[in-house]
């Protein structure tokens, strides 16, 4: 899989093909988007343990735009395309019942996947900004897709906060260009090594931290998350939580800190403190929520804290914990959003007070949400336990026992608010629950069930990926980040 441009070309081409063809062929949007995302997923699996560079138009590195594939980007490609495939499968029946225009929906969804693949692969700052805009503009439209007053309000809020962040990033890119007269990321690294870190570079890093921190939903910048997740259609929420905030936020932030600006003690402290704040504030806010999806949104903020904390520890074990938790979180978080989508599909309602007793009526949804619940709150055989354990061990090894304590407290709070979901939605019932509502409820259609079951199985066996530790499955990822700036220059310029 040396032709990395296919990751951008295929979804973009199909995204624009769908509106042209679908007026004649009604089945085309459903089938084509699922098939295309599945093909992309297979391609991304093929990039595993593989390193290469794709030069756009054959122009070599510092002059032309290049795509860089290493362990970290390969893992992100697998996550994004897997979640995209699951979201497409889930959308077939979900969008049919709740929303109207499938054609526009799939078009926008594929554009989001295009943008995310581009951000993950590119080795050029300005090109990254363009792909960022592609993914974000499509996702603004997807969040407000229902066109109800609440959807539009959430979409506008999401748009305003993220546009400010985008212009911060743009200003940072302009500053770096003004300082070093280059946009290639590896070339910027060599320039920083040559001229040293001065105030312009530090200011640019601060702008990047605020900009990508907003997209990664770290705590002081998290205000858009609850509204956008609540208003968006469930597959889009899953894609937002499992793909967008990870590929546009965490991935770029980590690439910039580890491979371009270089990790330092100050940045490590920054990540650890912001991570702890996200864990605790996200978990406390989630406890008080009565809307299923809003609760999941705060849960997402809390878990982004774990990931940032893991990366901020700086040691290879900490990076492994962060990467592994990132992988696990995208699995169980999408599963939880699909569960909320199934509940909404059958009952038309997401208020925990009005729901109840769904465990007998919807066994697949109930069991899969139970698996996601165990895995997210860290019950041993499931994947979430292992990544949290690795983060805790890494925190203690790095001489930050209090961070480890906060991780444990956050984990207990997670257990509490997921017990609340299980109690009010699946096993018990809420205060305003009406028995007559659940009489004719049945399990969701088969395609939705398939995506729930696949993700639940992955959550159950995902813990096996931890075997081997820093040299195991995630070894290339840890190497790509822990190698620091010199490793990245070596990858790009082949020294």
């Amino acid at each position: 899989m040396d032709n990395l441009s296919l990751f951008i070309a295929i979804p973009a081409a199909v995204a624009f093909l769908i509106p042209i063809v679908s007026h004649r062929l009604k089945w085309f949007p459903d089938v084509s988007s699922s098939v295309i995302t599945f093909i992309l997923f297979l391609f991304s699996l093929e990039t595993l343990n593989h390193q290469c560079i794709y030069q756009m138009g054959g122009w070599p590195a510092p002059i032309g735009i290049i795509f860089v594939l290493d362990g970290f980007s390969s893992m992100m490609l697998i996550i994004v395309n897997l979640i995209g495939f699951m979201a497409c499968l889930f959308s077939v029946d979900y969008m049919e019942k709740i929303y109207t225009s499938k054609l526009r929906y799939y078009s926008l969804l594929l554009l989001v996947i295009t943008g995310m693949n581009g951000v993950i692969l590119t080795g050029d700052l300005f090109n990254m900004f363009i792909f960022l805009e592609i993914a974000l503009i499509a996702s603004y439209a997807l969040v407000g897709f229902g066109c109800g007053s609440k959807d539009l309000e959430a979409s506008f809020k999401y748009l305003v906060i993220n546009m400010i962040a985008t212009y911060f990033i743009f200003l940072g890119i302009a500053l770096l260009y003004g300082r070093f007269a280059t946009l290639n990321m590896a070339h910027i690294v060599t320039s920083i090594q040559q001229y040293g870190t001065d105030s312009v570079v530090i200011f640019a890093f601060v702008l990047f931290f605020v900009g990508f921190g907003t997209k990664a939903a770290i705590v002081p910048f998290h205000a858009w998350v609850p509204d956008a997740y609540t208003a968006a259609p469930a597959p889009v929420s899953a894609l937002l939580a499992g793909g967008i905030i990870k590929s546009l936020g965490i991935y770029v932030l980590m690439r910039l800190t580890y491979n371009i600006f270089g990790m330092s003690q100050v940045i490590a402290n920054l990540f650890v403190y912001f991570g702890i704040a996200s864990i605790i504030i996200g978990a406390l806010m989630a406890l008080g929520q009565w809307n299923f999806k809003r609760l999941l949104a705060y849960h997402s903020i809390s878990h982004m804290g774990y990931i940032i904390l893991g990366f901020g520890l700086g040691s290879p074990l900490g990076i492994l914990g962060g990467v592994f938790h990132l992988f696990n979180h995208s699995l169980f978080k999408s599963l939880l959003f699909f569960n909320s989508g199934s509940v909404e599909y059958e009952t038309g309602n997401l208020n925990l007070r009005k729901l109840g007793r769904l465990s007998e009526k919807m066994p697949v949804t109930s069991v899969s949400s139970l698996i996601a619940f165990f895995s997210t709150s860290g019950i041993p055989p499931f994947n979430g336990f292992w990544s949290k354990l690795i983060i805790i061990i890494a925190a203690i090894q790095a001489g930050r026992p209090f961070s480890a304590l906060w991780v444990v407290i956050g984990s207990i709070l997670t257990l509490a608010y997921f017990a609340k979901i299980q109690r009010y939605v699946f096993f018990g019932n809420g205060d305003e629950f009406d028995e007559s509502q659940v009489k004719d409820i049945k399990e969701v259609p088969s395609l939705m069930r398939v995506s729930l079951i696949i993700l639940a199985v992955l959550c159950t066996i995902g813990g096996l990926l931890a075997i081997g530790g820093v040299n195991g499955v995630f070894g290339p990822v840890v190497n790509a980040l822990a190698g620091g700036t010199n490793q990245y220059i070596g990858e790009v310029f082949g020294k």
Binding site: F126, I137, K150, L159, V160, A181
Partner: protein
């Protein structure tokens, strides 16, 4: 000095976005922010009495090296204007739909999500 003015323009735009309550003023704030960054990029490549960055057979290379204008920021600004246009259209479309639903442009009255 000119760069400082660009930053002042950026901060004015940021003020407009964060402190104004009318949606149209927020959109104008975004435009100011975008144009300030575009202006900054253009000024980075600009040179007084600069020459076109194309090498011809009779070009004096020493003069060319010191006086040629950097063409890359201009290409970047073109792309940024296009993406800015896309976002602007989306923002205006959202503003129109919001006006239809709420009957006002005031964002403090759009609080149905919290209820």
């Amino acid at each position: 000095m000119v760069y400082t003015l660009c930053f002042i323009l950026f901060v004015i735009g940021l003020y407009g976005v964060t402190c104004k309550k009318n949606i149209v003023k927020i959109i104008l704030g975004f435009l100011i922010m975008e144009y300030s960054v575009n202006l900054f990029l253009i000024l980075l490549g600009w040179r007084k009495n600069g020459v076109v960055p194309i090498v011809e057979p009779d070009t004096v290379m020493e003069y060319f090296k010191t006086m040629s204008v950097d063409p890359l920021p201009q290409a970047m600004v073109l792309i940024s204007i296009v993406t800015g246009l896309g976002t602007l259209i989306l923002m205006v479309a959202l503003a129109i739909r919001l006006y239809q639903r709420y009957g006002t442009f005031d964002i403090t009255e759009m609080n149905r999500l919290k209820k």
